[in-house]
Symmetry: C2
Subunit: 106 residues, 2 copies
């Protein structure tokens, strides 16, 4: 006998699932983080480059990157004094890309 299993088509969602979905979408809901993620689709970039690209202080970018890191949406790699960030979750990158396409031609 199989035990009952959570499938994505279940209408009612348990609290933990709801919170995790909310975390993901919250991470993608801020304009600055959207610019950061869009920039990282292309290639890894260091904090200073992201700050300049997004028009933010390096501190602000660092806070955003911590947010994204904790959700494993991005990962960090140190090279000398610089820390390079890149996308670390292709499902979320795909989600992001789809939302973008929906907005641009959709």
């Amino acid at each position: 006998m199989d035990s009952p299993v959570m499938i994505a088509s279940d209408v009612q969602l348990d609290d933990r699932t709801v919170m995790r979905v909310a975390e993901i979408f919250s991470a993608l809901s801020d304009p600055s983080r959207i610019r950061i993620i869009a920039s990282l689709r292309d290639a890894e970039r260091h904090v200073g480059a992201l700050a300049e690209m997004a028009g933010l202080s390096e501190s602000a970018v660092s806070h955003h990157l911590r947010n994204l890191r904790q959700l494993r949406i991005v990962k960090a790699r140190r090279d000398g004094r610089q820390i390079f960030y890149s996308l670390d979750d292709e499902h979320i990158a795909d989600l992001f890309q789809r939302s973008l396409e929906h907005v641009l031609h959709g």
Copy 2:
């Protein structure tokens, strides 16, 4: 000659695009709205049913539905004194479903 055109793989995004992506993800980033949307995947439901399902006042649900309506994520249909809501954007419904699957078995 083709004029230059915005394609989704462009790394840099213009402000308006960024804001529209942020609006979509913001709409999907609240636990109460997530429960509402999850419930509507299945079938249309009226405000009172959504309120009971989500454990919210009808007023709170109404505020959330206005938010979702303005983004054309849901649409409304009156039947007598009740107003039935249903999903109105299959791309966003798809986005939602994918995020859910990512969380549940991802």
